[in-house]
C-alpha cells in the first residue's frame, strides 16, 4: 500500500503491506484499513484507489503483490 498527502498523514506509514485472503477485492482492502485506522473514515469517500498505477474500482479483484495507492483529491499546479 502507498498513501499520499492527507491520507498518508492519517496512517503510521506511507508504504506498508496488507494481508488479504484469496479472492479479495479493493473494497476488502478498504474494509481492513477502515477497521484498523478509524481516522480514515473522514477521507474514504473522497479517496480514489489505484491498482498498479491505474485508478481502479472498488470491485476490482486483487492479486498477490499488487501495489495499491490511496489517492486523495489532487492539488497540483
Amino acid at each position: 500500500m502507498l498513501a499520499f498527502a492527507r491520507v498518508r498523514e492519517l496512517l503510521p506509514e506511507s508504504d506498508f503491506a496488507l494481508d488479504l485472503g484469496d479472492g479479495s477485492r479493493i473494497r476488502d482492502a478498504w474494509a481492513i484499513l477502515a477497521r484498523d485506522f478509524p481516522a480514515l473514515s473522514d477521507v474514504a469517500a473522497s479517496t480514489r484507489t489505484a491498482r498498479n498505477g491505474r485508478v481502479a474500482s472498488l470491485d476490482e479483484a486483487l492479486c498477490d503483490g499488487d501495489e495499491l495507492a490511496l489517492l486523495p483529491p489532487v492539488g497540483g499546479g
Binding site: 492527507r6 495507492a69 486523495p72 489532487v74 492539488g75 497540483g76 499546479g77
Partner: protein, 141 residues
Amino acid sequence: MLKVTRDPIDPRALEGVLQDGESGGVVTFLGVVRARAGDGRPVDGLEYEAFEPMALAEFERIAQEARERFGDVRVAIVHRTGELRIGEVAVAVAAAAVHRKAAFDACAYAIDEVKRRAPIWKKERYADGSGEWKTNETLHP
C-alpha cells in the same frame, strides 16, 4: 520533456527542447508560489508531493491529447516536489506549434488537465507552523 523533480525548474530548458526550427510560436505557463492563500492568509511556503510514475503517465496522456486536439503541437511539462518558497516555480508547461493559436490552446489545455488529473498534492504552510492540504476541486480561472 515530461518530468517530476525536486530541483528548481528552469523554464528556458523546457522551451529549448521544444525548439526544432519548425515552430513559430512557443507559449510557456509558470505556476508560482504565492505569498497569500485563497482566503488571504499569509503563506510561508508550499510542500508538494507526487505519485511520480502515475504523474508521468498522466503527463504523457495529456501531451498526446493536446496533439489530438490542436494538431501539430509539442508539449513539455515539469512539476516540482518538496518544499518550495514564495516566488519559486512549482510547475512549468510549454507548448510549441507552427502558429501561436495552437500553442496558446495547447498550453492552456495542458495546465488545466495537469491540475485536474495529475496525482500531485500541495500543502500550504502558514506562519504559525500549521499547514493544510489544498485541493483543485474548484479551479480558479
